[in-house]
């Protein structure tokens, strides 16, 4: 085991990390006894609640998106593993309100299954919710096969605009429509340059050979793309951007957001280089880089690489993007 991580007993890892997380962001979030991450100050009951679920080990995601103008509840699972349906059902019960719940689910087998089981039960209990699935990874299935596209960091812009709409008092139908509109115009591609270790098992996640990179890497080191020789920042930006533009069928005159999500070990320095090139390439095509976001949002431990997520913006989505929010991983005045 070649793990170089500062951890304690693996079986307590998630509990301990959540305690530290709640402590670090005490003004923004709280951790419930049953391990739901909640907003520190509850949203008014007449506004739509926004709930999501997902495995741990991707910090700051997903619990880092809990806060004013974003999520009301996140249900963290074990490392890289969805939480079971009982916890998800508890979250839906906690969020229950007449205004309804927007339930955002990333397309991964475990998450989808937990969401379905919990959702079916919630329905029986008369809990009103709308589920929105995010699945914007273009690497493993074409656009007309959305079921087989994974949900990567694209959940973040969806949570941002839907969260802003909910905060603004929009109806459940409107919030769901906004989330789906954002999702539909969006695409993500990941590249990995170096692997990571699984913090509980010590196993290597995605060993990547010297001098190579893998385009299409999944959120847990699953394959899905091709290994190629390591490229420059400019070349990598171009390869990824072109594939993404193609997928969303972007045209001159479009306004896009670009989100560069560091996988863990890749520096902000590198991400800035990529953004610079993306901006040049978009300008050449007459496309506007209307909003950008660069940082580590949904990580894969200490993996090297990043996810590039782009999506179409309209006036409403831009305004929602710009709305204030106050979550651990995204504060906007």
């Amino acid at each position: 085991m070649t793990m170089k991580k500062l951890i304690n007993a693996p079986e307590n890892l998630v509990q301990e990390l959540l305690e530290g997380f709640a402590l670090a962001h005490a003004g923004k979030v709280t951790l419930s006894d049953s391990r739901l991450v909640l907003r520190a100050s509850e949203k008014a009951q007449d506004k739509v609640a926004v709930v999501t679920l997902g495995g741990s080990g991707h910090e700051p995601a997903l619990s880092g998106f809990v806060g004013e103008g974003m999520l009301d509840i996140s249900v963290p699972g074990e490392i890289f593993a969805a939480p079971g349906p009982p916890k998800v059902l508890e979250a839906l019960r906690t969020a229950k309100r007449d205004a309804g719940i927007l339930f955002i689910v990333l397309n991964h087998a475990g998450d989808v299954l937990s969401a379905k089981v919990a959702g079916d039960m919630a329905k029986k209990e008369g809990i009103r919710f709308e589920q929105v699935l995010t699945h914007e990874d273009i690497s493993c299935a074409p656009r007309n096969d959305p079921e087989n596209r994974r949900g990567l960091v694209g959940c973040l812009p969806v949570i941002k605009v839907a969260g802003a709409a909910a905060e603004a008092g929009r109806s459940l139908e409107e919030c769901a429509e906004i989330a789906r509109r954002m999702e539909a115009g969006m695409a993500t591609l990941a590249v990995a340059v170096s692997g990571a270790t699984h913090p509980s098992t010590g196993e290597v996640i995605a060993a990547i050979d010297e001098g190579t990179m893998v385009v299409g890497m999944g959120q847990h080191g699953e394959a899905g793309g091709g290994t190629q020789s390591l490229k420059s920042a400019d070349e990598t930006a171009e390869i990824m951007l072109n594939a993404l533009l193609d997928d969303i069928d972007a045209k001159a005159g479009d306004e896009l957001f670009v989100l560069l999500n560091g996988a863990g070990a890749t520096t902000l320095m590198e991400l800035y280089l990529v953004l610079r090139r993306v901006n040049q390439l978009l300008a050449d095509k007459g496309i506007t880089l209307a909003r950008s976001l660069v940082g580590e949002y949904l990580t894969v431990q200490e993996m090297g690489g990043f996810q590039m997520c782009i999506g179409k913006l309209d006036e409403e989505l831009k305004a929602l993007w710009d709305a204030p929010c106050d979550a651990p991983a995204w504060t906007r005045k």
Binding site: V14, G55, G77, E78, F80, A81, A82, P83, G84, P85, P86, K87, H108, A109, G110, L113, S114, K116, V117, C140, E147, N148, H198, S200, T201, E203, G218, H220, G221, E222, A223, G224
Partner: protein, 213 residues
Amino acid sequence: MNTLDYHGLARMFEGAAASVLEKQDYLSRLDSVGGDGDHGTTMARAMGKVLHAVKSHESQKIATLLQEIGWAVMGVDGGAIGPLLGMMFISMAESAEGLDVLDGEALACAFEAGLAGVHAQTKAQPGDKTLLDALIPAVEALSASARAGESIAAALYCAAEAAEAGAEFTKTLQARFGRARNIGEQSIGSADPGATSIALIFKGFMKGITDHA
């Protein structure tokens, strides 16, 4: 013995837990091929919860035990297997609601309901290299045997044989669901972890019944 009472059911689940726990590492290794290598850990945690539910359960009612086991298994944060297996047991509970003993027909109905519960959660079909490739033949064999009037032990024996054959057959398949889907053809040659777990569970069911018969 042609009916199964609460205690028999409890022994079946103790058998399943023992059978799975013995193979924990092997299951994780199978999951390392195309998945995230946690299947054995998750199954072990699930079976730990099953044992705890059996030991601490007080109602003496078949349906509530099944319900509690299902809910406990689902409470394991471990990805796909928890909800699938959990829904199987919860659906079995619904089918067994109100019954103090299960005869062959009731047992067949319960397992068929369990299978339906799994089907309702996933679009995976036979041949997609998932736990269904062991579960479907197991339930079919069990139903056929039970409805033919064979003993419950015999029915579980048939189910265990069929599940094992089904799990073995997954070696020839390419994964089309779950994480292993992402490695495509490379999944061929090694058995599906979920299907292997199903085979172990049915083997354990049978041993649980027959060892204590």
